[in-house]
């Protein structure tokens, strides 16, 4: 019954995670964002909104606002650091594994949704933007 993938709690909540939770980078909103999306994890109530500025297919600025657990907020914060200056193509390639690598640990299924909420919001913002754009 013990879970082989179970990670010690000290390892999960390392200093840099607590730091990103308590001092989220790129926190806030942008005026007139080029892309924007908000989503929640309805089962636990975690919420994240992300605003993006884009220029020539490159993310020039990003801010996020949210509430939720250390895992969801820290991984969103880490994600915003990672994408600034990146092209849409590069962002498209960011996957589940990258987010888990950011967080640096194996987490259980129940917390996976928390860790991935930021990425889901980011991808939705860009997908929506892409839909809006006359192509």
């Amino acid at each position: 019954m013990t879970d082989p993938t179970f990670t010690g709690m000290d390892e999960l909540y390392r200093d840099f995670i607590l730091d990103h939770y308590r001092n989220p980078r790129n926190s806030g909103t942008l005026e007139n964002p080029d892309a924007s999306f908000e989503d929640i994890n309805p089962l636990c109530g975690d919420k994240i909104r992300m605003d993006l500025k884009l220029k020539d297919g490159v993310v020039t600025d990003v801010k996020f606002k949210g509430r939720g657990c250390a895992i969801s907020q820290a991984s969103a914060s880490l994600l915003t650091e990672q994408i600034k200056g990146k092209t849409l193509e590069e962002i498209n390639k960011i996957g589940k594994e990258d987010v888990l690598e950011n967080v640096g640990i194996n987490i259980s299924a129940a917390r996976l949704k928390c860790a991935l909420l930021g990425l889901k919001v980011l991808k939705s913002a860009l997908a929506l933007k892409y839909l809006d754009e006359p192509s």
Binding site: M1, F6, P42, L43, S108, A109, A110
Partner: protein, 418 residues
């Protein structure tokens, strides 16, 4: 020899092994071996299904979805794995298309309330057949009454099949066509694929009552091409308290919720709420978690035996039973000839009422259903108030068919019928 075995689907040794898995077969009602011939009403359960639920309650029961702790995660995974098992079993690549309900009846009502109330308008036609179980008839009667739609009926022929001659006319203007894949009274196997295709061509959605099909033959919803299908776990070796509504994702996505409350919401504010995506949107409240675990075990059991073989074996028993019954004077069997039917056999014996027949059969340990089988309009049509129905499943044997025949002969003796 092997050609015969193959034709049988299951060898005697296979069936003997299977029977070991069903503890109830050791019961001795009234001092007789239990001869259970009522699987069409509800099947018996193998120890693998009973144990899976037992194990769930002993080791990892907890409410699902919102639990962060270990046993709750295990329960959540088991519940979603059950959904994935069912999806695989009926051939859909999309597990979210499988909604857990209490039973097929609730699944059909869900369609009538959520899809029906949204899409059916006064003047629309709803097409059903004369051989529907009440659960695939009364919800459409109520829907028609409440919306001002009209009900139309596909007739049943003398030999117990659907009369499809005027199907195009009946489908003209119909928005929904509800029909059973297999009749629970006559055993008739209907041409689901053809009916679904013709419904679609006419602009109607198709709702298939798959209660008697999913337990007894391979079912592939993609091949069928229907829009909704409903069935119950308890008829396919699974527990009571859980059934499945499968629907095409595009339809489900566009449907409003039916039951509302915990677990199916998005954001709840004081006076209004948003709702979760499919399938959660249609699963309000704490679901039947142990039952989903039991159903998954039932699916594994059926898959391990093989639905093709189960179907073949049932046909083999049906053929033998029909042959033996034909030899007994005063027995009338209803329904079509073997090539159009499965191992669900309705009969009457002389002027013995079905209840009396079933009581006498019971006194010999033989369990059959007696009554209208939730098919009152069909009974009117057959001109009998009730029939006795024997139905076969993978754990039945030729010897049990023989026991049925002897018990019928006893009934005839008691009622002094030649």
């Amino acid at each position: 020899m092997s050609a015969i075995l193959q034709a049988h689907g299951l060898s005697d040794a296979d069936v003997e092994r299977i029977r070991q898995d069903f503890p109830i077969l050791n019961e001795r009602p009234h001092g007789h071996k239990l001869v259970f011939l009522d699987s069409a009403a509800s099947s018996q359960k193998p120890i693998q299904v009973i144990d899976a639920m037992d194990d769930y309650y002993r080791r990892y029961h907890a409410n699902i979805h919102r639990g962060v702790y270990h046993i709750s995660e295990l329960a959540t995974e088991a519940y979603e794995e059950a959904r994935a098992s069912v999806a695989r079993f009926i051939g859909t690549p999309c597990a979210a298309e499988c909604i857990f309900v209490r039973n097929a009846t609730e699944g059909l009502n869900l369609v009538a309330y959520s899809w029906g109330r949204t899409n059916i308008k006064a003047g629309d036609a709803i097409l059903v057949t004369e051989m529907e179980h009440h659960s695939n008839l009364v919800p459409w009667q109520v829907l028609a009454q409440q919306t001002g739609a009209t009900l139309r009926f596909v007739k049943v022929t003398e030999d117990g099949r659907l009369d499809l001659r005027d199907l195009d006319a009946l489908l003209d203007g119909a928005k929904l066509f509800a029909f059973t894949a297999v009749s629970n009274t006559l055993g008739t196997i209907n041409p689901v694929k053809e009916l679904a295709a013709r419904a679609r061509a006419a602009g109607a959605i198709s709702v298939v009552d798959a209660c008697q099909a999913v337990p007894r033959m391979p079912v592939d919803v993609v091949d069928w091409g229907a829009d909704f299908i409903a069935f119950s776990a308890h008829k396919m070796l699974g527990p009571t308290g859980i059934g499945i509504l499968w629907g095409r994702k595009e339809l489900l996505d566009a449907m409003p919720p039916f039951l509302t409350g915990g677990g199916m919401i998005g954001i709840v504010e004081m006076t209004h709420s948003t709702y979760a995506d499919v399938p959660a949107r249609f699963e309000a409240g704490t679901p039947a978690i142990a039952e989903a675990v039991g159903l998954a075990a039932a699916v594994r059991y059926l898959e391990a035996v093989g639905m093709d073989r189960i179907h073949q074996y049932e046909m083999y028993l049906a053929e033998y039973a029909l042959k033996r019954l034909a030899e007994v004077p005063a027995v009338t069997v209803y329904g079509p000839s073997l090539e159009h039917r499965t191992g669900v056999i309705s009969m009457t014996v002389g002027d013995i009422h079905a209840h009396d027949l079933a009581s006498i059969l019971d006194s010999e340990g033989v369990c059959v259903r007696a009554g209208h089988h939730c098919n009152q309009p069909l009974m009117e049509k057959l001109g009998v108030p009730a029939t006795a129905r024997a139905s076969f499943y993978l754990y039945n044997t030729k010897a049990e068919v023989d026991a049925l025949i002897s018990a019928i002969e006893k009934a005839k003796r008691i009622f002094k019928i030649a």
